[in-house]
């Protein structure tokens, strides 16, 4: 069973789509129930997948792998498998599935059957994109995602939906067509005749092995990286390729926004981590200064844009640009800490921004306005809603104790300590150096700006006197809405307080990524050591929980005004305590000072 788990995960939604297709189009609640059931079963399969993944150090990179020929004559295989990152993102996708379905329950009343089909097909496409280990298969799933999302925006969207849908499609498509060319180029260069392959694992090995005979010229590597990077940068979206996002979000129905922000944006970052950078590490090193700068500009610029918005959904969309800037900074810093943080932040952003769009959707369903100025003072009317919104907002601005903080801290602390230049580009190519502490400091200002725009929005929507009488009778969260919001709120706290189980699954992926792109010269803790600290001080704490007592701090001999002696009149017994004296000596030996 377990060796078919990935098949089950990927095709369960499609199976339910078939069921939905057979149901009569008029029975809306039946359709919704079937879709909800499908997404819940699908979520269960992703949990099983997540738990089946073995994150231990010796475990293979790709697990639950399936490799069967698909179009053998062209070297295309149905090769799927997950690493820690893909398993985590698949879990996130599974989680957001039912949330999206619940958000459409009463919000969408037209073409319900088609909507349900679109959501289920989209689910399969997203799973497939994360699981694919064959470039052709990856591309098929990648483009397959576009269609349902295009329909979600174009059919069930707002007043300007066609413009937004076309913009979304063309933007993304322009990027991915270049990626297709790059994939075909790799295929052609991968061998001769039948030896040609689209297989990711073999291509990765061949590209990074000088003896494989697949040596590409520097210019080719550079252009190939650029083609992949462009496709992914549009999807992230990185500044200045982000202008499709606000339009798409504003026009999309809540379900579309949840999936778009929650999962689809992650595809871009995922593509950098899985494809663009490991396949062409030296080109990535060469492009790193530019990309880091764009990521940091994205953080500040996105925050400023969010500050200028009058529309709730646009504000959240621009906040995504800033958040994904953090993710990209973490990836491009190329340290284990920062890339682990980036991966974690991908999950966090999916949850918090998904929840934000869900909540705004709930509000929109009641009032049919997204304009901030149409609210004001509604916290008194809908206290539960205000509470849920506050929790999600705190996660979004990275308050410690919520999931957002852990990701941001790892990204920024890792980037602050990241190398200025990475590896070596091709001979004769100059590598730019980047003052990472300085750029990280600029990025950290996003923490302040995030609080500025988010709290300003919250105040104008929730606080003050009730400004519009028509909001007087606004209904608070209903049970069905709680079912969608509640799990996300719980995850915000759980992932903030107990992040380690989640981080453990990302750790192997982050380590392999950094190794492949040649980041962070000495991996892990060793890079951080202060020279000269005696080894005894370097021991890591033993297994937890652990309770210890600290002995008296030893004073140097030069200063006889010892604490113990100073308290002499009060504590005559102290000096005679042999246990204490022994502890002091031991302590002094430990830290290497002369007692």
């Amino acid at each position: 069973m377990s060796h078919h788990l990935l098949d089950i995960v990927i095709f369960t939604p499609l199976l339910f789509a078939a069921v939905v297709a057979l149901l009569p189009a008029g029975e809306r609640n039946q359709l919704r129930a079937a879709t909800l059931a499908g997404s819940l079963v699908s979520f269960a399969t992703t949990i099983a997948l997540y738990l089946a993944f073995d994150p231990s150090a010796g475990a293979p990179e790709f697990q639950l792998e399936l490799n069967r020929p698909w179009i053998a004559s062209l070297g295309i295989g149905y090769h799927v498998g997950v690493d820690g990152l893909a398993a985590s993102l698949i879990l996130l996708t599974g989680l957001l599935g039912p949330v999206a379905v619940l958000s459409t329950w009463s919000a969408v009343q037209t073409r319900v059957k088609e909507l349900c089909l679109a959501l289920l097909v989209l689910q399969t496409a997203m799973y497939g994109t994360f699981a694919a280990l064959d470039l052709a298969l990856f591309y098929v799933f990648w483009e397959l995602m576009l269609v349902p999302m295009y329909l979600l925006i174009g059919v069930w969207g707002g007043e300007n939906r066609v413009y937004a849908a076309v913009k979304f499609f063309l933007y993304t498509f322009a990027g991915s067509v270049l990626m297709l060319v790059a994939i075909l180029f790799l295929y052609v260069k991968s061998g001769a005749g039948d030896a040609r392959t689209f297989d990711y694992v073999s291509l990765l090995r061949a590209l990074n092995d000088p003896d494989s005979g697949m040596a590409l010229a520097w210019s080719a590597r550079k252009w190939l990286f650029a083609a992949f990077a462009l496709a992914f940068a549009v999807k992230v979206p990185m500044f200045p390729l982000h202008t499709w996002l606000p339009d798409a979000h504003v026009q999309a129905p809540a379900a579309g926004s949840i999936i778009l922000a929650g999962v689809l944006l992650k595809m871009g970052a995922f593509g950098f981590l899985r494809y663009a950078m490991p396949l062409f590490p030296d080109a990535a090193a060469w492009a790193r200064p530019t990309l880091v700068a764009l990521a940091v500009v994205g953080i500040v610029y996105g925050s400023l844009m969010a500050l200028a918005q009058k529309d709730l959904k646009k504000l959240i969309a621009y906040s995504s640009v800033a958040h994904l800037g953090f993710v990209m900074l973490g990836i491009l810093a190329m340290t284990v800490a920062s890339s682990t943080g980036a991966m974690y932040q991908m999950l966090n952003h999916g949850i918090s921004t998904g929840a934000l769009f869900l909540l705004v959707g709930i509000l929109y369903e009641r009032t049919h306005t997204r304009s901030i100025s149409d609210y004001g003072g509604i916290a008194k009317v809908v206290p539960m809603f205000a509470f849920a919104f506050m929790v999600v907002l705190l996660s979004s601005i990275g308050l410690p104790g919520t999931n957002g903080f852990v990701g941001e801290l790892l990204i920024l602390a890792g980037a602050f300590a990241a190398p200025f230049t990475i590896g070596a580009a091709a001979p004769g190519v100059e590598l730019g150096a980047l003052n990472m502490p300085l750029w990280t400091a600029v990025a950290t200002s996003g923490v302040v700006l995030g609080a500025v725009y988010m709290l300003r929005m919250y105040q104008r929507v929730m606080f003050g006197p009730l400004r519009h009488q028509e909001n007087r009778a606004l209904a608070d969260l209903k049970l069905r809405e709680w079912l969608a919001v509640g799990p996300l709120l719980a995850l915000v706290v759980v992932m903030g307080v107990m992040p380690q189980p989640f981080l453990d699954r990302l750790d192997p992926s982050a380590k392999r990524f950094v190794e492949r792109v040649g980041g962070e010269p000495a991996q892990g803790a060793a890079a951080f050591r202060l020279v000269g600290v005696p080894p005894a001080e370097l021991l890591s704490p033993a297994a937890a929980p652990q309770v210890v007592r600290v002995a008296q701090e030893p004073e140097p001999a030069v200063q006889p005004a010892n604490l113990a002696t100073e308290k002499l009149p009060m504590l005559p017994a102290r000096l005679r305590d042999p246990k204490l004296l022994e502890a002091v000596k031991q302590r002094a030996r430990d830290i290497g000072t002369t007692p």
Partner: protein
Amino acid sequence: MKIDWDVKTIEDSLFLIPLLPLLGAAALGLFGRRLRRPDVHLIACGTVATAGLLVALILLPMAFPVLFASGPVVSIGSTLGTWFSAGGISVAASLFVDHLNAVLALVVSGVGLLIHVYSIEYMAEEKDYARYFAYLNLFVGFMLLLVLANDLVLMFVGWEGVGLCSYLLIGFWYDDDAKALAGRKAFVVNRVGDFGFLLGIFTLLALFGTTSIQPLGTGGDSLAGAVRAFGPGRLGAVVSSGPLAALGLTYGHAITLACLFLFLGAAGKSAQFPLYVWLPDAMAGPTPVSALIHAATMVTAGVYLLARLSFLFALSTTAMAMVAAVGAFTALFAALLACAQNDLKKVLAYSTVSQLGFMVLAAGVGAWWQAVFHLVTHAFFKACLFLGAGSVILACHHQQDIRKLGGLRRRMKSTSATFLIATLAITGVAPLSGFFSKDAILHFAHAAAPAGPAGVAHLAWIVGTLAALGTAFYMFRLYFLVFEGEPRSEQAAHATERGLAVTIPLWILGALSVVAVVWGWPWAPFAMTTRSGLREPLFQNFTSPVFGLANRILGVDPAAAHQGLLGAMALALAVAWAGLGAAWWLYRRGGIAKLAPLFERRPVRWIHALVAHKFYVDEVFHFALVLPLRAVATLAFHLVDRRAIDGFLVHGPARVTGWAGRALRYLQNGDLQRYAAVMAIGAVVTVAFVLSVGKDLFQLFGGN
């Protein structure tokens, strides 16, 4: 006969101390609406009291080791495990208690409990009763976490957590726009500080590889351990390994950088210039909240941070000088502003800013224990003052304008008596606690400050003394205007004092402001005699293990701290009396009326207007920072996002495609004659082309 305390059990329960109030907050937040009021009190006060009791259990063997079989306990710690760890960054969920934070934890839970009790009466008419206590409990929990954390990142959790509670409580009556705005301002200004705190954490991580503060038991990295092994001798060496090597800094520079970043964080939380702007606005919150959060505890977190990392700051004279200078300036600046305020709570707010300036000044000149001692005494008398103000506000139906109060001494006996005690304590007129804590700071700055550019400490002493003069003046101005003379409004004339829930906390805090004298008394019978024959106050003696490392690095001369003590005290007393006298003459003897013509004159009028408008600092921030930020955002949205990117880069190609399509449309208009003509021309061109260059092309493709 000794008490056989099982320290292990206490250590195991260390995590309960912050956890209990947090659980109380969760319970109140989730089920508060369904609970009866007495149950709300029980949960809110009970959890805080239990936490305080646990702290006291730990503090006892520290304070009276002679009574305990366990012997002297310098610090105890407990590690629950790793909070998170990735790529060499590891944050332990570990708490510890030593002589410094034991005191603070007791102050937090003790004053917190008193203010919980006081709030029962103060918030009695409030509908959102449970929500208020949930926030208050949440605050106490986060504050205890902040104080007890043994890791800077964990401390940051408490640090931002208390900031959140402050935000929620300032804006407690959120349907008032001004109050909600004040809460937001507090949060955002604090975030500016937190930006510094974060960068400080990053710098320390990059330099030392750890954010753990003290070594616990057998090992683990820690900042204290690293600094102890590092020693000041290597400050001049260039950082040659690790992530910061590429910057080419010396260790001294890197540590200075880290300290300055952290100080930015401390300045945000402890309301130092120019980040103090949020604190006066924070008075929009309920008065017990002002007492607990914005006077006694949360705002002192910055001072605690400076004291906690004393060993690190001691390594950087530049950072110390900066801290001292900012502290001294803030002390004087805020004292000046307090003189021209007419809102009861605003005067106290600027007073808090000023007193925090004294503490920061102390930390900057190396007077660590004095800074913490002043923190503790200030917590007592300032909480007492705020609760007294709350009592006045309750009695006078929210009349806070001191020009409209007056004569309350006869109507509010307990309030006026405790207010007077606390006023005497803060001004240092009589030998109350504030006298000893403030004088110890100024005397140390004058006589013993060992570090930094020599001028800074002396300048700090002069500025601090002037600020002390201001303190005595504005505090007695406040006292005389509120409690003496005749009532100047209906509300003041009919004021009635509230019940025991209000007065008992007042008396306890008033008593503590007096009793605290014992810890700072520099002579027998309370002072301890060290082996070298010097006397030191109990508080100094008690906290000496904490500041031993910093003092060793700084090379503080213990003997110098005793020279000229009496002279300094005489000066302090004279200054205090001068301030009191000036206030008495102006506000009790009608001096203000005599001076009125002077205030009509131009330069005096201008200066008074400048002070009364708080030097227009808020306006400067608004016009120099807030408005430009918004303008840049809006402008960039329209110019960059709309015009440049969307208009040119995105719609541009789309438009070109459109034009091209329209242009090409003419080629396919169905006119056969035109098709034929084009075909003919094309054929001619092709033939001509092949004839002229065809041979070359043929060769180019490999033909021969």
